[in-house]
Structure formats: C-alpha cells, structure tokens
Amino acid sequence: MNFFDKLMKLDRRWVFLFLVVVCVATYMTEFEVPILVEPETQVIFDFVDELEPGEIVLIAIDYDPNNLAELHPMTYAMAEHCWRKKLRIIFTSLSQNGPGMADQAIRDISDSLMQDTEYNGVMYEGREIVSGVDYCFLGYKPYYALVILAMGQDFRLPFPADYYGTPLDSLPMMQGVINYDQVACVVDLSGGNITDAWISYGQGRFGFPLLLGLTGVMTAQYYPFLGSGQVVGIMGGLLGAAQYEKMAGNPGLAMDGMRVQLYAHMVIILFIIMGNVGFFVSRRKQKQAERR
C-alpha cells in the first residue's frame, strides 16, 4: 500500500490527533487574527447601538453549557454593550440548564461594569448593575413555546416573580412593562429548536424585531428568515460573537477563541484537500491498471 492509498484509508483518529495538536498549539500561543465583519452581524450591532438609554432589550439565554463556547461570548458582548449604553435588559432562559448560564453571565458582566472602560474611543464610567433596575432575570419555565406565547400576553403570566423570587410588580424596571409591546427587541441566543418557537410563536404572532445569535452549525438553516424579514440579523457561532466584540471595541472570549477556530478550519480544509489528492491519484492508478 503506497502513501496515497494510506491517505485514502487514514484512520479517523489521526485526524482527531492532528486537530488536537493544532487547537492546543494555537490556544497556547498569543497572536491576533484579523476579523472581517459580516452585514448580518453589523445590523444587530447597529440596531442595539441606536437604541435610546432606558429602552428595554429582552435577551433570551436559551442554551445549555454545551453551547457555552459559541454562545456565551455573545451574551457577554451584547449585555455589556447594552448596559454601557444604559439600556435595560430582561433575561429569560427557556432551556433547562440556561438559568445557570444566565446567572453566571450576569454576575461576571456586572463585575466588569464596575470598571471605568473606554470602548471605541468613548469613556464609560463604571457603575453598579442592580437587579430590578438595570435588569430583570425571569428564570426558566418548561415548554418554551407556551412560555413565549404567554409572555406575549403578560410577562407576569409565566413569571409572577423573577428568578430570585421577587414579584415582578415590585421591581422598578417592570413598572408599566406588560409584554413584548414595551420591549425594543428580542435577542434569542440559542443552540436548539427554541429559535423556531421564537420565530413562529413570538415574532410571527407579536411582531417584535427579532435578533438571533446561533451556533455555527445552525446558522445556514436560518438564512431564509433573514431574507423574508422575520429576523433582523444573525450572529453565527464564535465568528459572529467575535465580529460583535470587534464592533463594540471590546475584545473578549470570542476574539480570543477565533485564532483556534481559524486554524482548526484550515486543518479541516487541508484534510479535505489531502483526501481529494489521495482520491484522484488512486483513481488514476486504478484506471491505468484497468487499461493494462
């Protein structure tokens, strides 16, 4: 068996090993990769950036720890952007392990907001983020489609109290906030089928602007909704998060992870090319043998 035949029958574990080596090496080495911004992500950033202080953004943290690598950076970038711009946030979590993710993100971002920071040349003073004033975390309820429908009537139907047990009526920021009518937009960060429910039951029925943050694998599936105008913009995977961080001038987890992803992609492409070279060479040999 020559080299090309071996290449054709390469055990998948060699592919795995090579990928691990590249991932670890790029993770350990500090260097920056340039990020190009897609129009789908640009519209999301512009939409949030143009909101007035005090407006409310609903961020649905509909992902479990498994999608953390791709979606958590989006939550961090968007929530920090919103709070720096003095927008108010309603967090919901319709995925079973989502509340843990939301809770962790809120704690971390609140800490980061305590610092004075400069983003894109604008100085933002540090401030304390207060539950019930700057944000309201509604928590988790099972059967997401029903919860999305019920929130369209009144947030208090599925969530009489917030995640921490405080009745919604006693939270300052929820005064006069009944349903989606009082919300500037809904951002769904999801790694599963909850996005479909937000599109058909949420946007379809109540007509709010819907911004999506999805895992890379899911992104292509939601392009038709972008074309039909049901969705304002889509942030796809780690790349989408990195693009948002770049526009916000706030490099974080995603831009850090991009060098690993970029090189991992190049390895995959390299393997595809090698596979094809092997395929062509062995096919030519086979044909030559047949001619003889």
Binding site: N67, Q153, P167, G176, N179, G191, N193, R205, V217, M218
Partner: protein
C-alpha cells in the same frame, strides 16, 4: 434642525404623558394667556372604530390632519389622544394596587394566615365588582369622569391604535362593551397651546369570532383537507396509487434481519423532540413497525428517550407491537427508558450504550440537533448499520454523511404510509403531492405576476398576524 426640535419635544411630551402624576392636562386652553403661539386648527373627521380581527379591548382612531400641520401656520408638532375615563377606573386602579400588594405579601409570607386569605377573598370580590361596574360607569359620560391622555404621535401621523390588555389586573385594561369617547388635540411647541377636536363617541370595542386576515390559510386548509379525503376515498375504492420506493424504509427490514443474524440488539433513538412534534409522531409509527419485527425475530431492542412523555408513549407503542406480534410476554418495560432532558448528557448516555452493547443497527428517527453527527459517527465506530430520518434541515447533511440511509424531511412523515401500504395512508400521501404541485404552480404564477407588477395575485396569499 426643526425636525430635531420636533423630536425633542415629542420625547419630552411622551415622558410627560407617561408620568403618573399628571393626569389631566388642560383640555381647551384659553389662547389669550399665551400670546406668542397661535392655537392651530383642530383635527377634523375624527373617527374611532373597534379594532378588527382581535380579541377586543382595542380601538383604532383616524383623523384628518390639522390645517396647520406642515401647511398654514405649520405650528402643529404632535397630536395627543385623549379618552374619557370614569372615576370608577381610579377605584379599580386603587383596588388593583392593593390586590397586587397583598398577593406579594402572601407570596413572601412564611405562614399564610386565615386573616390574609379572607382579606384576599374580599379584595378579589370587590375588584371583580368594580370591573363589572365599568361599562355602567362609562355610560355616565360626561359626568363622574375626566379626559386622560392615552398617547402621543408626531405631526403628519393621522392614525392611532389604542390597544389595551384583556387582563383586568393590568393597568392597561380597556373594558369591552363600554361606551368609549375620544378626542385628539393638535399640540404646538408650547404644550399649553393646543386645540381639541370634536369628541367622538360612543364607540365600543369587542372581540371577533373570525379573523378575516387569516382567510387564505382557511382556504388552503380546506382545499388540502378536500384533496386528502378525495384520494383516501379513491384509494379505498381500489385505485392503484403509485409511490416511489424509499431506500431508507426498505432497509429497515433488512437491518432487523441483520441484527437477528448477528445476535446483537437494535438501538432506536427517537430524537430530542416532544410528543407533539410531527417528526416524533412519525417516529412512533416506525418504532411500532420495528418493535413488531423485533418481537417476531426475538431480537433485543433498546430505546433510550429524552422526554418523559415521549418515553410513556413509546412504551405503549412497543408494548402494543409485542401484543400484535403475539408475544406479549417477551415485552420488558425497561426496553424503553428515560435518560435525561439535557441534550449532551443524553448523547453521552446513548454513545455509552452504543460502545458497550455494539448494536447491529442504529435507527435515528425524529428531531435532532447538534448531537446528530456525534451519535451517527459513534454508531459508525461501533460498526452498526445506520438509518436516519429527520425534518431538521441543518442535521440532514450530517446524517447523509455518516449514515447508510437517510430519510429527508417529509420522507420521514411518509414512512408510515410506506410501511403499512394501507390505501388510506397512501391516499393522504398522494394529496400531499398534488398540494405540492399547486404550490409550485402558484409560485411560478406569482413570480410572473410580481414581475408584471400585478400585486393583487400575491396579495391574495397575504396573511396578517
């Protein structure tokens, strides 16, 4: 600059209107007091109607702009909409506040006393009575009430929707079947200088029994229902209906035979969908078929599930199949079991089963997400024959790459017709094909008409929310 000024004033006005302290701005102000700004002409032809195709509690206002909006004095910068509200509404608001306070108190209390419960009952009864009284209170116009602002729109706008909620417990509640009165003020840069329109009323809002905006959907459903019944009837009469063969479905029987020969189990994965998902319902049918064959061949079957309701239904399906195969005693309850509702914990469990039990055949039918490739690749590592079917578009490529046979999208739903070969099921499949042909025909016609700018054809299919 003028637009900016307008905007600033509208924002200030909005903030002012939403402030609860200010309830009744001057209705018709004597313009002599403010000599600098001349009062504008009033809006005319104000008309208020019930909002169509909704559950009630909403009205729609329309008017003709003031003569001084952009033309004439051009001093109108916004319109403020007022509704006459009886003082009985204040009583409702006060009771609502008390009720919400008491409920919060009860929610926070460690021990709910009888006294609290009695107070709650009394308060709820008083609140209900106050709500019931609202239509009557509205009937007392213009006594015992006042004009209250419900919204502001910028100049140039000549319509407004006064949408309330149906929940009496919400501050935005607008009662149905109550006489409502409206007026619209043309407001200048000095908010005190304004001119009120004539009062419009009474008008009542109420819910409709048919949403005419959704008529196209009703027509489509009825047409499709008709096709289905037609072809089912034809099939019952013995008309031969041809359906093309599906390799994935035909492979199921061979795969079960293979498992029997190898003496290894069959793993059936129903996916991550709920029992209400059509993909899962279709999967139950295939599971029934597989379980029946498994019972006949006495092969082992493993069905780990992600959803408790799916587990319950799947247990019933497998049990019935064993009964149909004449081997009810061979059915073991733990053939179908619940694992977890955490996506990747479920994947870990199923992969573990694959690598330990080395099933001869893995069947994945239902809704799948990011786990599809992890399952299918592990199955391939375990040396299983794999058959998959899903309607999740993003996962179809992964299954095609890693499995031996894949049912794409609707092929999964059609599987029950293929497996059973019952005429009525084949009939419904045929109806689906004709409906698809119609969709294609309408798409082509729509494309041509849209290019000719004949929008009426496309509008026929427009469905409002």
């Amino acid at each position: 600059m003028r637009h900016l000024l307008k905007l600033v004033i509208v924002v200030v006005l909005l903030a002012w209107v939403s402030s609860p302290a200010q309830t009744d701005p001057p209705a018709e102000v004597d313009s002599v007091e403010v000599a600098e700004v001349t009062p504008p002409g009033p809006v005319t032809s104000l008309s208020v109607t019930d909002k169509d195709n909704d559950h009630g509690h909403a009205t729609v206002l329309s008017w003709e702009a003031s003569v001084d909006d952009s033309t004439g004095l051009a001093n109108v910068i916004s319109y403020e909409i007022f509704r006459w509200v009886p003082f009985a509404m204040d009583h409702v608001d006060s009771l609502r506040g008390q009720l919400s306070g008491l409920r919060a108190e009860i929610a926070a209390a460690e021990d709910v006393t009888d006294e609290m419960e009695t107070r709650l009952d009394l308060l709820e009864a008083a609140f209900d009575a106050a709500i019931d009284n609202l239509p009557q209170a509205h009937g007392q116009y213009p006594q015992n009430g006042e004009w209250r602002s419900v919204g502001v729109v910028a100049s140039g706008v000549t319509a407004y929707g006064n949408t309330g909620t149906k929940e009496p417990t919400s501050a935005d509640y607008i009662p149905d079947y109550a006489d409502l009165y409206y007026r619209v003020d043309a407001v200048t840069a000095d908010p005190v200088v304004r001119t009120a329109s004539e009062v419009y009323g009474p008008v009542q809002c109420y819910g409709q029994w048919f949403n005419t905006d959704r008529s196209p959907v009703l027509v489509a459903v009825l047409a499709f229902g008709f096709f289905t019944l037609l072809f089912v009837t034809l099939a019952k009469k013995g008309t031969d209906l041809y359906v093309r063969p599906l390799a994935g479905i035909e492979a199921v029987d061979d795969a079960i035979g293979r498992a029997t020969e190898m003496g290894r189990p069959i793993l059936y994965v129903l996916g991550l969908g709920s029992a209400a998902d059509v993909a899962t319902i279709a999967s139950f049918t295939i599971l029934g078929r597989v379980a029946k064959r498994v019972a006949e061949y006495q092969t082992a079957l493993i069905v780990p599930t992600y959803e408790p309701i799916v587990m319950t239904v799947a247990q019933e399906v497998v049990k019935s199949s064993y009964l149909d195969a004449g081997r009810p005693d061979d059915f073991k309850e733990d053939t179908v079991f619940f694992v977890t509702q955490s996506q990747f914990a479920y994947v870990a469990a199923v992969n573990g089963i694959m690598l330990r039990e080395l099933p001869a055949t893995c069947i994945y039918m239902g809704k799948f997400f990011a786990e599809s490739l992890i399952l299918a690749e592990t199955g391939a590592l375990a040396g299983s024959i794999q058959i998959a079917g899903t309607d999740e578009i993003a996962q179809i490529p992964f299954f095609i790459v890693a499995c031996d046979y894949t049912l794409i999208g609707e092929e999964l739903y059609a599987a029950s017709a293929y497996l059973g070969r019952e005429p009525i099921l084949l009939g419904s499949l045929k109806a689906q094909d004709y409906a698809k042909a119609l969709v294609v025909a309408f798409s082509v016609i729509g494309l041509i008409f849209a290019n000719l700018e004949w929008t009426w054809f496309v509008d026929l299919f427009h469905v409002a929310n």
